[in-house]
């Protein structure tokens, strides 16, 4: 129903208030269930190794993470603080998905502009997207050096899927909207800037969501090979000296970073979609 036609009653009826309460209860129970899953997971992770049902050397346990974190927080001349490691990983991830978005939009726009170019490149894009990019980690290290290879891997993992997603979004624009712009004499450039790009905002956000996760995968995998700083390095280092506490702490921080990024994108999405 259109908002204009909506009738709002001045005093909500009893049935309506009951319905509201039911809705609220429904929402709360979803949140409660989500929280319960997290608690059960943490409890099992804590209890099973302590009861020696699984070997604590292999999994560590949650209560060991905080002391480990505090220990890693200290900065010594031989060892960077975990905050520095986290910062390097977050920074590289942001660079990775920003570059993937900018390049992805530019390349998708070029493919839309020159349709023949798309027809030529289509199979290569599909194959490039299907390739296991992590196979290139050692080669990127040789080609690009320690720092650039991390950005390179982050971009390589997220770029192709971004191009394909955005290009598909461009193709999904209602051709009649384009026809409408053309009846007013719109040039190709105007069709792109006034119809195709603004009409693809939901696709761009969907691409960003996929991208953030993939870029972080690229960064961490890149750091395994080539870094002496970053959470990926810390995970590699921790497993080599068999200190699972360090590995698990770094992984938990990665999970927290993912959550924060997810929240940031949800917020961006809500802000943009309010206009639709």
């Amino acid at each position: 129903m259109s908002r204009v036609e909506q009738l709002t009653m001045t005093t909500p009826s009893l049935q309506y208030r009951k319905w509201l309460a039911r809705e609220r209860r429904g929402r709360l129970s979803v949140r409660a269930a989500q929280f319960a899953i997290l608690v059960v997971f943490l409890l099992l992770w804590e209890a099973l190794p302590r009861a020696h049902i699984i070997n604590p050397l292999l999994t560590s346990y949650p209560s060991a993470l905080w002391p480990t974190f505090l220990e890693l927080l200290k900065e010594t001349p031989r060892q960077a603080s975990i905050l520095t490691h986290t910062w390097f990983t977050v920074f590289a991830t942001v660079i990775g998905f920003s570059a993937a978005m900018v390049l992805g939009i530019a390349i998708a726009a070029a493919l839309w502009w020159w349709h023949d170019l798309y027809k030529v490149l289509d199979p290569y894009l599909v194959v490039a997207n299907a390739m296991p990019k992590t196979a290139f980690v050692p080669i990127f290290y040789i080609w690009l050096g320690a720092t650039l290879s991390i950005y390179g891997m982050s971009l390589a993992i997220s770029l192709f899927i971004t191009i394909l997603m955005i290009y598909n979004g461009f193709g999904g624009i209602d051709p009649n909207k384009i026809k409408l712009a053309q009846t007013f004499g719109a040039t190709k450039r105007q069709v792109l800037s006034k119809v195709v790009l603004p009409g693809s905002i939901p696709t761009l956000i969907a691409a960003l969501k996929v991208n953030v996760g993939l870029s972080m995968v690229g960064v961490v995998v890149g750091e395994f090979q080539s870094a002496n700083i970053g959470l990926g390095f810390l995970i590699q280092y921790g497993s080599q000296i068999f200190k699972l506490n360090i590995v698990m702490t770094a992984i938990t921080i990665l999970a927290l970073i993912s959550s924060v990024m997810y929240l940031a994108i949800s917020w961006l999405e809500a802000a943009v979609m309010r206009r639709r």
Binding site: N176, L180, T183, F184, P198, R276
Partner: protein, 272 residues
Amino acid sequence: MIVAPIVAPSGGVLPKVELRNVNMRYFGLEGETEALKDISFSVAPGEFIAIIGQSGCGKSTLLSLISGILRPTDGAVLVDGKAVSGPNRKVAYMLQQDYLFEWRTILENAVLGAEIQGADMRKARRRAKELLTKYGLGQFLDYLPRQLSGGMRQRVALARTLCTEPDVVLLDEPFSALDSQTRLALADEITDILRREGKTTILVTHDIGEAISMAERVIVLSRRPGQMKSDHPIAFASYDGRRPTTFEARNAPEFNRYFNTLWQELEVHVEG
């Protein structure tokens, strides 16, 4: 393109829109499809004509040719005596659905044409506000399309069409997406607006009643390839010296006679 010199028809009025021996074929890998064959007619300034035919007879193609977004395979399309070579500011095209951009407000949608044509935006915004207010949408300027009903959205589309101040308005079944009451009311409203503004109008529809009640002349197209079958002037006994409204026309004694003639000419066969 070389076009023979214009010979003004009797009365000396240069036609606003003229088609001369227009053929249109679409090309595909499976072969050629002939959409329109040897179409010739002209429309006088301020005239309101309707073109009827069954689905797939090339009606929409005809409007695309006049609007300049398609070129004919053979023949010539002229507006004000000049061959059409692309979209023309004098001609505005209203499509089957409103196709409002959901990311633009009502006002921003209404000035889309002016914006694309690089017109003076202050003037365009003023005119769009005037039109929208005239169509009863003055309080919804900053609303988004999804907040409006179908009839309101189609009125926004009309404002968008007329905001660029065209002389010729092409209507491609502009009511087909609406429910039947809204459809009748809006047909009446739009006919009245276009007549009063003195626009030359070409309406394409498969609804015989709509054509008779809105237009002064009805052209019937045959099935594919679309060829001109007949050209009927629609005349009603005078209503105090003016043309009847669409509602009056539907109740006029002449209405049924025209309806039967056109129905027979359309040769509707239900297949299957």
